[in-house]
Amino acid sequence: MKVEIDTRSIWVLLAIKALRPLFFILVAIGFWAVTTMEPAEGLTPSGQRAIGIFLLCLVLWVSNMVPVAITSLLAIVLVPLLGIVPKSETYALFGNEAVFFILGAFILAGAVMHSGLSNRIALVMMRRYGHSPRRLLVSIFLLAAVLSFFMSEHAVAAMLLPIALDISKALGLRPGRSNYGKLLFFALAWGSVIGGVATFLGGARVPLALGILEETTDSTIGFIEYTVAVFPLVVVLLIVGYLVLTRIFPVDIPDVAKAMGVIEKRAKGLGKLRYSEYAVGTVMLLTIVAWSTLGHTIGLSTVSLIAVAVLFVFRLVRWKNIEEYVNWGIILMYGGAIILGSALDKSGAARWIVESAISDWATTPWAVFAVFSFLAIALTESMSNAAVIAVLVPVSIGMSDNLGLDPALLTYAIAVPAGLAFMLPMSTPANAIAVSSGYVTVKDMVKGGFIMFVTAWIVFNLVAAFYWPLIGLGGLGR
């Protein structure tokens, strides 16, 4: 047991301790006030209560005073308790496809990591392409991005962390001082973040947005359709990210011979490609093909769960190996968010918010798209990206009706920027991992992250304006 004694004044400590109960008392009073006050014009009583729950969840998600999953559970409890949606219907919403898609994706990613395949790919790529400081940097950057196409960006960052640490040590890079050290960990973090928005698999954000979209409208977005729409953004951000990083932190080492030794040693330690790696790799490839070709007909979650079943039928993984990779908190959080979105929609609250709060100034589709994408990219810097989706998507869907917009377009406007968090360690675990290494400081991250924040928002809007019409994703110009 290692202990630390806080020697600040006892009154300061008491005041800090009192903040939490005070916060919850204020939140409870606020919630009570919102749900019991006279409904505003055009708002139904159940809509009023739905807004109360929405605001409560918003405050709890943003403040992080309780785990996000617990906030979602609270929403699940309050929606039927306040009579917004019947109990049976509420709990049935938890069985949304998106929840099972996320579960399947977690298990598949866990299988890939557990088999050692992802580690092998990383080492092989670095050994093959990383023979100079710049090439090694690009290798890590692209590797993090490409791996995040297929598995959670958080998992990719965590997987690459020990490799990057070993390389840094081998090169004698000084934490907090070495530019190359910073570059390595930025490459790991930003590569994961940028790659994470390329497909449905980089994070659970897009499936969640899709779940809310499908639950409240007839629209949907296909696996390939999404990737095709977002890919140019990913490419541009990877290029800009590399240029920004190497300008702010110029490479300060002449060669990486020592790092190659480490990579070589690690790669040799893996031995030859094992049966389980072959098999898991094959299942993963087939799953991606199935998502692309059969996703629309049998559903993404069905494909995921079939792939999961195959993994277990052929004993490629065991449940106890997979359990640690499944983030049950996120699954609970998504279920709650979908229920909350549905409650806002069914009670008419989402439409009322749009009509009364946003419709006056957001009169053109472009303005709405730009504002929602900005809100998403700004909010994701300080709150969970899934929470951003849960808060913004139901409102945006209500707005799309008013403007005659395809709700899928506004779902893009939120789901994609919500994954692009560059500025702060608390924005996403990938950034936190980079800062935790000791090589990247928060100041470094804010400095480079701000440029990326602005660039990402502008590029995303440009892609939507000029590229999307070419692939048939029009509608903003109407």
């Binding site: 047991m1 290692k2 202990v3 630390e4 004694i5 806080d6 020697t7 006892i10 008491l14």
Partner: protein, 396 residues
């Protein structure tokens, strides 16, 4: 051998009795004192004192303990003061489930019950031993074993059930290590805190690393004592050669200073033994410790045959000003001395206040509160809350 005026002030009488001891004629009192370090008595104004009565020097004491009917009194032949012999704790006669007499484990000294879970001290029977140490190996040659946590817990349960003491005082001898004995005491402190709502004071050696002081507090110690014994640097080296060499006087001062920042105000204490160094040196020690925020506690040296360490002349007239200085210095410094309760073996700053003219009336209501059941509960509750606020477990 004047005893002039001491019968008027029981606190002054306490000091004089501790210095000179008492001759015991009464067989009942003799039986009480048998096998103990002294006889615990209650003088007027609830003045608790442990009076030496078996040591050689007490044979020349002007004081005698006598009995009149059912009551005892102390007299010098001309004056007398009522003296109530504290009843022998009932639990002393009982044993743990493993057969160890509770009296071997726990010894009541007023508000404090002293428990030394291990009889070992690496200095025993070596040239490094503190010259004034009164612990004598039993001579059987058989190594004594440590008391188990369960045995100590049973003893604490018995003490608290009988309502004799409010604070459990755990002490440990010297063992060479970084931790000052805390690693050994850890399971005892944890167990006592887990099973009983009582305050725990710990007497240990200053650890080499401050993190052990943090840990002592985190474990549940409500008070810590690193007993220097002697402030004078040269005398410290001569009288405590082992501690001087393996711990170092400066480490005592550093550890006490650090502990003051960790433990609540008034709960870090150190003994300075009156009579082993010139009174002026004790005064300087009081000033130094008090300036750091440490509560100095002054026991009086009890000479043993063949260990003539006492400075001479040593009289109550000479040492009472030292106790007065203790009170005025501690009071002026703002160190909270009120939680250091009545201990029969020593004189605390709160007791020293009773030597000051006019101070007694000022302190009595406070003393009553601090020593009351409610005061104890308040102390325990505040101590627990404070610990919960301050301690952060950074690693399991």
């Amino acid at each position: 051998m004047s005893t002039t005026g001491y019968f008027d002030n029981p606190w002054a009488l306490k000091i004089d009795l501790m210095l000179r001891g008492v001759r015991v004629v009464d067989p009942l009192a003799k039986a009480w004192a048998c096998g103990t370090t002294g006889i615990d008595m209650l003088l007027p104004e609830e003045t608790l004192v442990n009076i030496p009565c078996r040591e050689e020097f007490t044979e020349h004491s002007p004081y005698e303990l006598r009995r009149r009917g059912e009551c005892h009194y102390i007299t010098d032949g001309t004056e007398e003061a009522a003296a109530e012999i504290l009843p022998v704790p009932e639990f002393y006669s009982r044993k743990t489930t493993t057969g160890v007499p509770f009296g071997d484990i726990a010894v009541v000294h007023g508000s404090y019950t002293v428990i030394t879970p291990s009889p070992k001290c690496d200095f025993f029977d070596t040239d490094s031993a503190c010259r004034y140490c009164t612990i004598i190996p039993d001579g059987t040659g058989e190594p004594k074993r440590d008391f188990t946590v369960e045995e100590v817990l049973e003893a604490v349960g018995a003490v608290l059930k009988e309502g004799l003491s409010k604070i459990i005082y755990l002490s440990v001898g010297f063992t060479d290590g970084d931790d000052g004995g805390i690693e050994f005491l850890e399971p005892y402190i944890r167990a006592i805190k887990k099973h009983h709502s009582c305050l725990v004071a710990v007497e240990a050696l200053p650890p080499k690393k401050n993190r052990w002081i943090d840990r002592t507090y985190a474990l549940g110690a409500d008070s810590i004592l690193y007993n220097m014994g002697i402030y004078d640097p040269e005398l410290f080296e001569v009288i405590c050669p082992g501690r001087a060499e393996l711990v170092g006087r400066q480490r005592y001062l550093d550890a006490l200073k650090y502990a003051v920042g960790i433990f609540p105000n008034g709960t870090v204490a150190s003994h300075l033994i009156v009579g082993l160094e010139p009174p002026g040196s004790t005064r300087i020690g009081i000033d130094c410790l008090t300036k750091m925020g440490v509560v100095p506690i002054l026991p009086i040296y009890r000479p043993r045959p063949g260990r003539a360490l006492r400075i001479e002349p040593l009289t109550t007239e000479i040492i009472i000003p030292v106790f007065k200085h203790l009170y005025t210095t501690v009071k002026k410094s703002g160190v909270n001395f009120k939680w250091v309760r009545d201990i029969s073996m020593v004189t605390t700053p709160a007791e020293a206040s009773m030597l000051m003219e006019g101070a007694a009336g000022e302190l009595t209501p406070l003393k009553n509160f601090y020593s009351s059941r409610f005061g104890l509960k308040a102390a325990w509750g505040l101590s627990t809350i404070r610990r919960k606020l301050r301690v952060k477990n950074t690693e399991a």
